[in-house]
Symmetry: C2
Subunit: 164 residues, 2 copies
């Protein structure tokens, strides 16, 4: 499927499609540390922050995934990238996140970033943990009980890192 997947910068006209993808993820509250009751406007304001470069992954004109790329810190920390990824539930397991991950790593390197860091990968999000490990990220540490999972309660979050 990923042969037909196109990844391109998000446009203002993609906002509704992005909300369709990230809305259920925000509401579920299982993988992102964001308020579960956020409105579309609140979630989209976060996803499309000025500092975020936003992309969509689409197949035959339909967005199946989206991610943002940003500097993880400002000033003396601006050479390390950070990113957040979301895949439409109905497209799960088809390699969309992996394709976006590959793209994000290459694009971050092209922009001059020297590494990519994820600050808060929820440990129970095994698909994400395994994906990032398979793309070369190492777990630098576990943040003890840093995430209150709606079903599992307090679980660790991981700091994951990869040089570019």
């Amino acid at each position: 499927m990923t042969a037909a997947l196109a990844i391109r910068p998000a446009l203002a006209t993609d906002r509704q499609a992005v909300w369709t993808i990230i809305g259920p993820i925000v509401a579920a509250g299982e993988t992102y540390a964001l308020p579960r009751d956020w409105s579309a406007a609140q979630a989209l304001a976060y996803w499309f922050l000025d500092a975020h470069e936003v992309f969509v992954a689409e197949e035959e004109g339909k967005a199946l995934g989206t991610f943002y790329l940003q500097a993880n810190q400002q000033g003396g920390g601006a050479h390390v990238a950070n990113a957040g990824f979301a895949t439409a539930a109905h497209a799960s397991g088809r390699g969309v996140a992996r394709a976006m991950g590959h793209f994000a790593l290459a694009h971050a390197k092209a922009r001059g970033f020297r590494a990519m860091q994820f600050n808060f990968v929820v440990s129970t999000n095994e698909a994400a943990v395994h994906l990032w490990a398979s793309l070369g990220f190492e777990t630098l540490c576990r943040l003890p009980e840093a995430f209150d999972h709606p079903a599992a309660g307090l679980v660790d979050a991981l700091v994951m890192f990869r040089r570019l």
Copy 2:
């Protein structure tokens, strides 16, 4: 000296005093990952973010230090606090930061936070690393070469954590 030190919420009228403290720190770029060329307005907008509860530590009516307290994450991560501290250069070595640290830990606990996490303690900032260790913080991991120090070049930053 700390017996005469009073710690209280910052007021709008403290903004100039806070800038006097944080301005040289931002400009030096050795301990905070913030743009070194930030104006007073930019630095104060950051320090006084809506989500930040800001305090000043004063002695005889003169602010010697300031810190902010916030949730380190939103949503499922909102039970872990984060804070940033700054001491006036002329008050260095007199226990101001330690007093603010004690206050911040107690206040965070009173607010219901379960832990405090520092995401980015520059490893060459030995005074801070030692202070936080002495206040019970453990280093969860080092972020490799995550900070570009103006004099030392690329150095690690530390993720430090303490339960409350």
